[in-house]
Subunit: 237 residues, 2 copies
């Protein structure tokens, strides 16, 4: 018996967004017949799968959770349906699975076992923000979360700025939404006036906003309202 395929399923960036607004229709068609899923959060994954309209009734789907609480030795077991020949979907909380979320470990294990892995097209806040930033798209680096506390944060930002200047590399990072305002303040304190900073907020959502300004320009204007709104930060020195 041959192993199943692991499909990597992107989900909308805002809770409540309809899947068809951000997923191509062949991707929706791929998801519908699946009955086994590994998900970051069962409740929101069920809401997503309900909106997609799976072939099997929602209560008959097999959902296993994989998140920061999952012990590493539990990963093995999550692949069992694939080994038994079932196709399986990996669903993240928002955006693309295995990028900035715990799904990568499951994909690594699948790759190690020679299981076929198929990534499906969907929204990625990192990529959309990079596209719309106008910053260097030929060289860029994503760093996840930076230190939350000072003076570590200002130091991290100055290091990123120096590296950006040296390599002509766009630096991308994220913050917990309720600390977005503080992050922007830290950026404006830490960086040189000529450094360009992009704020990419609520991507693909009705209030989407992607603004690139130099630090000097940002300082002169009223800061945009980004508090508690999902935001990607980018800088290019």
């Amino acid at each position: 018996m041959s192993a199943g395929t692991l499909y990597l399923i992107p989900v909308p960036l805002g809770a409540g967004s309809a899947p068809e607004t951000v997923l191509p229709s062949p991707v929706l068609e791929r998801i519908r017949p699946l009955s086994h899923f590994v998900v970051e959060n069962a409740k929101s994954a069920r809401a997503f799968l309900k909106a997609v309209g799976t072939a099997q009734p929602l209560q008959e789907l097999q959902l296993a959770e994989l998140n920061e609480h999952t012990p590493p030795d539990a990963l093995e077991r999550l692949l069992q349906p694939l080994r038994a020949g079932q196709d399986m979907g990996l669903v993240s909380e928002a955006g693309c699975p295995a990028v900035a979320d715990p799904g990568a470990d499951l994909v690594a294990l699948a790759q190690r076992e020679g299981i076929r892995v198929v990534p499906l097209v969907g929204p990625s806040s990192l990529l959309l923000s990079l596209m719309a930033s106008g910053l260097n798209g030929q060289r860029f680096a994503f760093h996840g979360y930076l230190p939350a506390k000072e003076p570590e944060r200002q130091k991290a930002l100055r290091d990123l700025e120096a590296e950006s200047r040296k390599r002509r590399q766009t630096q991308i990072f994220i913050e917990t939404p309720y600390r977005n305002r503080q992050m922007l303040e830290s950026l404006l304190q830490a960086c040189q006036p000529s450094t360009r900073i992009t704020i990419a907020t609520d991507l693909t959502l009705p209030r989407e906003m992607v603004l690139t300004r130099s630090v000097g320009q940002w300082k002169k204007q009223t800061p945009p309202d980004i508090e508690r709104r999902p935001t990607v930060f980018l800088l290019l020195a």
Copy 2:
């Protein structure tokens, strides 16, 4: 009069692929009413727009080219329709515009003038390959093309491997398709046996293949046929 909006339009990764296979339907709806485009290559952009089915006849669309032959001082003029209140689409040759293509300069100029920039969801070979690699998706860097000649190439690969080890950072790069085989050979010579290397070929196409193996494993097996097939390379030490 208010300025138009610059839409960043992704296109399929393989020539001849139908747009609806990789673009969500609201993205197709966004493209259809547009009549002004900046494109990397007029011929392939026309084929794409024909397949999308624009509201206006193909021969009435305004297509301006932006590619490596465009002089920097010509960029200004390309924004003219936006300043005059027209919406405009930026279309790359494959995948997402302004990521690893010359469109970023146009987006930068639009941002500088305060023109609204809206990135649309579509396929990105970089992001799809990262998702399916199982390598670190929390920290990664894209480097574009590496040096084509030895010994510069082996040195570049060893530097990337050292950096990957130091930062736990996935390193992503591309190669001209007819040099893919050589790139894989260089990788296997330059890197440590335990370093994982992903080969992501023909993404979203019928012959798609994403394989992650350690250098030691790659050396033991027949190399996959990647010559002249679009491929993204990833490594994690």
